[in-house]
Amino acid sequence: MSVLELHYDVPGDDFTRAGEASSAIKNKLKQIGIAPDIIRNVAIATYEGEINMVIHANGGTIDATVDANAIALVLKDTGAGIPDVELAMQEGYTTAQEHIRALGFGAGMGLPNMRRYTDEFELKSEVGKGTEVRMKVYIKK
């Protein structure tokens, strides 16, 4: 398989459009014949990341690279950053405010879900500069 590279800008001001990039990635992976369970893992990981970008960071970018072995995902934002990454990775921990919870998010499951559904997960964050999440979902295990 040749390498496929996808890039999406996630707008930060529009919650109703959050998920469009993840949807586009999902459709591309379907078109090139990736297995449904692998596509679903990628879709959940990118979608949670996309929601995080919209809620916490005023948007960001998603890059997906597909080769014969894996789907590599890089999510970047220039938001406020995460002061305590270990704490942020705990299930149920959230800093989202009530109006976000009313939208069905902010249960403190976003980052844990991203780790849960990917084979490799790395998060780097600097307060005041932003956050970068690198993930891989293996096509061949």
């Binding site: 919650f15 109703t16 959050a18 998920g19 993840s22 949807s23 999902k26 449904p36 369970d37 679903r40 879709a43 959940i44 979608y47 949670e48 929601i51 919870r101 939208l103 069905g104 998010f105 902010g106 249960a107 403190g108 499951m109 976003g110 844990p112 879900n113 849960r116």
Partner: protein, 126 residues
């Protein structure tokens, strides 16, 4: 159980994708928290929720959920129905409350995930 069976059992109004009524549903999940829905993979699932925003459809799309039942007589606005229609996700609305709706489906054999024998990894779902 089919989507059509759910529509009958919960006396639902079908808001879109009536052509999917014959589709089989294997598992169900009832929640207003989308991240909880995203935490547990289910096979051919239906989502019961009282949340009305477009992210309910987006979440369902990511999880390959094929039917959404809005409880307590709630109906999403046209843009949400249009998005679901585009994603081929059936939208039903029932006057039953969440607890009652889940109970009726459970009583009629639908389960949370562990017993589906599909790709489900947990019986979770709030």
């Amino acid at each position: 159980m089919t989507i059509g069976d759910i529509a009958k059992l919960l006396e639902c109004e079908v808001l879109c994708c009536a052509d999917r009524l014959q589709s089989e549903v294997h598992t169900a999940c009832g929640s207003d928290m989308m991240s909880d829905v995203l935490a547990f993979v289910k096979d051919q699932a239906v989502l019961l929720t009282g949340l009305l925003n477009p992210q309910v459809v987006r979440t369902s799309e990511m999880m390959d959920i094929i039917c959404i039942v809005f409880v307590r007589g709630k109906k999403p606005d046209e843009s949400v129905v249009a998005l679901a229609s585009q994603k081929n996700i059936a939208i039903l609305s029932t006057s039953s409350r969440m607890f009652e709706a889940c109970g009726i489906l459970y009583e009629n054999g639908l389960r949370g995930g562990a017993s589906s024998g599909g790709v489900s990894v947990s019986a979770g779902g709030a």
